[in-house]
Amino acid sequence: MIYLTRKIEFSASHLYHNPALSPEENRRIFGKCNNPHGHGHNYVLEVTVAGTPDPTTGMVLDLKELKQILQREIIERMDHRFLNYEVPELAGQIPTCENIAAVIWKLLQLRITKGRLHRVRLYETPDLFVDCYGDGRAGGEGGPR
């Protein structure tokens, strides 16, 4: 089994606010992430696909194809967007790194048909990231974790 990883970056803004909570509770739980006009990050996304190389091409999947999928599904949807208001998949959710990673997993799992999506790693900053393994076990089958 080979694990192939491609990295992309996108920039987006968000804010954390739960309308079911009072302004004071929002402030207490989310701190400055609750600032009303939002703030932004340069997100870095690493997508890892597991598979066996095709004997003819030597590839698990064509990197060009993966690049196109990432462009269409992630960049066009999220880059230079305000995640709360412009990404329908996040509607009704707080756009935390956890929730964005889970949305990205669901979007990519539908599109990656060669190999198997193993891990989505989303960096919000260099010091904070989330790994999503779908419903699989973290690091299952000896893959990177």
């Binding site: 909570l21 739980i29 393994y133």
Partner: protein, 140 residues
């Protein structure tokens, strides 16, 4: 959805690798320049990974402010700018290698109430890293 959140922190500390169970010569042979009598220091980086269900009202596995506070209180406050061999009681008995330091940090953080501790990854330098996920952890 299986999600793991990781946060990086750093601290600076010095240590000397020296085992009282070994002779001077054996210590020198085993630890090389890490056995130099006055010790030496590193900028350590730790990556703390926690997992658990995402709480729908907050969208979070763990509140980062709580995690930061816990790591600061349990780890950073007592290790940063110290000489590990003398200032950290556990290392008066145990050689402060990065293996032992990584396990010590894991043991201190496993009581974090906000989420399940998955693993601790310790970078002694950018070239040496150590990971510990408990004795039953799926380590890699």
């Amino acid at each position: 959805m299986n999600l793991v959140l990781t946060r990086r922190y750093s601290f600076a500390a010095s240590h000397r690798l020296h085992s009282p169970r070994l002779s001077e010569e054996e210590n020198q042979r085993t630890y090389g320049k890490c056995n130099n009598p006055y010790g030496h220091g590193h900028n350590y980086v730790i990556e703390i990974s926690v997992s658990g269900p995402v709480d729908p009202p907050t969208g979070m596995i763990a509140n980062l402010t709580e995690l930061d506070r816990f790591v600061e209180h349990e780890v950073l406050d007592t290790l940063d700018h110290t000489y590990l061999n003398e200032d950290v009681p556990v290392f008066r008995e145990r050689v402060p290698t990065s293996e032992n330091l990584c396990m010590e940090i894991y043991d201190r953080l496993r009581a974090f109430p906000g989420a399940r501790l998955e693993r601790v990854r310790l970078e002694e330098t950018s070239l040496n890293t150590f990971e510990y996920a408990g004795e039953d952890g799926r380590q890699r």
